[in-house]
């Protein structure tokens, strides 16, 4: 029961990047289309779950003073794994995500979870925490990517979805669209949780 809670927390109560306003750069940069958002999300799930589990299993070995350095090395190694695998198997996605794949290493969510959760909890719980947070992040990125792709290009995962006379708002695929869409989504989330509370 407790493990289930650990897992589902990342999906709503603490869903990144909405509740934890962290990891914004990839959120804004790679949500030009739903596919890119999903690809980035999957890469983050992999790095987050693996690094959480490894950090957790080594938590008693790592001296406190060098823990951050150790976490960074572990996270960076999994990022390189993702870089190599995405080049070998998903080259087009690797091309469109560009430098944002190596930049997963500075995604604050990952280091944050390693420090706040994995270094204090068991392997299974840490793995589930990583999976939950990663899934939440993927969900957010895919939703954001879908909105921007549908309004900005009139397509969804590359397929035409809008009526034929629809004129795409190119504003949405550019940087300003990213900021404004995320801001509005954040406001909607705030409004929903406010009405839940009262």
């Amino acid at each position: 029961m407790k493990l289930l809670k650990v897992f589902t927390r990342g999906l709503w109560n603490e869903i990144p990047p909405f509740r934890l306003v962290l990891g914004l750069c990839p959120t804004l940069a790679v949500t030009r289309s739903a596919e890119d958002g999903l690809g980035m999300g999957l890469a983050v799930i992999f790095v987050l779950a693996c690094s959480n589990m490894l950090v957790s299993s080594l938590r008693n070995l790592i001296p406190r003073q060098v823990r951050i350095a150790c976490f960074v090395v572990i996270i960076a190694s999994f990022v390189v794994v993702v870089e190599l695998l995405s080049q070998a198997f998903f080259y087009p996605i690797y091309q469109s995500l560009g430098i944002f794949i190596p930049l997963i290493v500075v995604n604050c969510i990952i280091l944050g979870r390693a420090e706040a959760f994995a270094s204090r909890n068991g392997i299974i719980a840490s793995g589930l925490d990583g999976l939950g947070m990663g899934l939440g992040f993927t969900l957010s990125l895919t939703v954001l990517g879908s909105i921007r792709e549908i309004l900005g290009q009139g397509t969804f995962f590359g397929a035409e979805v809008m009526w034929s006379s629809f004129r795409p708002f190119s504003f949405m695929v550019e940087a300003p669209g990213a900021f404004v869409t995320l801001g509005i989504l954040l406001a909607i989330m705030n409004a929903i949780s406010k009405s839940h509370q009262s």
């Binding site: 080594l58 001296p63 090395v73 190694s77 794994v81 070998a88």
Partner: protein, 191 residues
């Protein structure tokens, strides 16, 4: 003291293990990555300049050495017989080096076409050298062009207006390509 030793030992150990694991993974994926890069980066250009070939252009590539430098050679075949070859050369554009894939019809002794594979030119200005309007002009150009220098080629095909430097990079790459052509042919015929 004990703490410091532990710190150093743990850090070194983690770094070593990660390094070894990653180099292992690189070993396993290196060939696939090379293939993927070829298919996605050079692939589209090769397909255009060797249009009409019936073989798998990427799989039938060859590596040859020209003046000590490695050249990746793509061979197009029709009815099982090689009819055209293509390889890349570099030129200096405005934003940096640009790579040009030049295709040759080995029977007709003409260019089948050119494609700019990668470049760093200014979008909308220098980048116009990648457009068909410019690259189409080279199709059918004779290999035995009188003056195989950038200047000589400029005389055959007009530069893109407003993108003199970028066009110059393309001319330079084609000139280099033409200069090594006899050597490439010699080596590509050898088994």
């Amino acid at each position: 003291m004990k703490e410091v030793t532990q710190m150093i030992v743990v850090l070194t150990l983690i770094c070593t293990v990660c390094g070894v694991a990653l180099s292992g993974l690189l070993e396993v994926t290196a060939e696939r990555i090379e293939n993927q890069v070829l298919i996605n980066v050079q692939g589209p250009g090769v397909k255009i300049v060797l249009e009409g070939s019936e073989n798998d252009l990427i799989a039938d590539r060859k590596k040859i050495k020209i003046n000590g430098e490695e050249v990746l050679l793509f061979v197009g075949k029709k009815d099982g017989k090689p009819w055209a070859i293509a390889y890349e050369t570099l030129g200096n554009g405005f934003g940096g080096s640009l790579t040009v894939m030049v295709g040759y019809d080995t029977d007709q002794k003409t260019l089948t076409g050119i494609q700019v594979v990668s470049h760093k030119e200014t979008p909308g200005i220098g980048s116009r050298v990648t457009e068909d309007q410019f690259s189409q002009g080279f199709r059918g150009l004779s290999i035995k062009i009188e003056d195989p220098s950038p200047k000589g080629i400029r005389g055959e095909v007009d530069a893109v207006a407003g993108a003199t430097y970028s066009s110059g990079g393309v001319y330079e790459a084609i000139a280099k390509s033409l200069q090594i052509y006899p050597e490439v042919i010699k080596q590509s015929l050898a088994p």
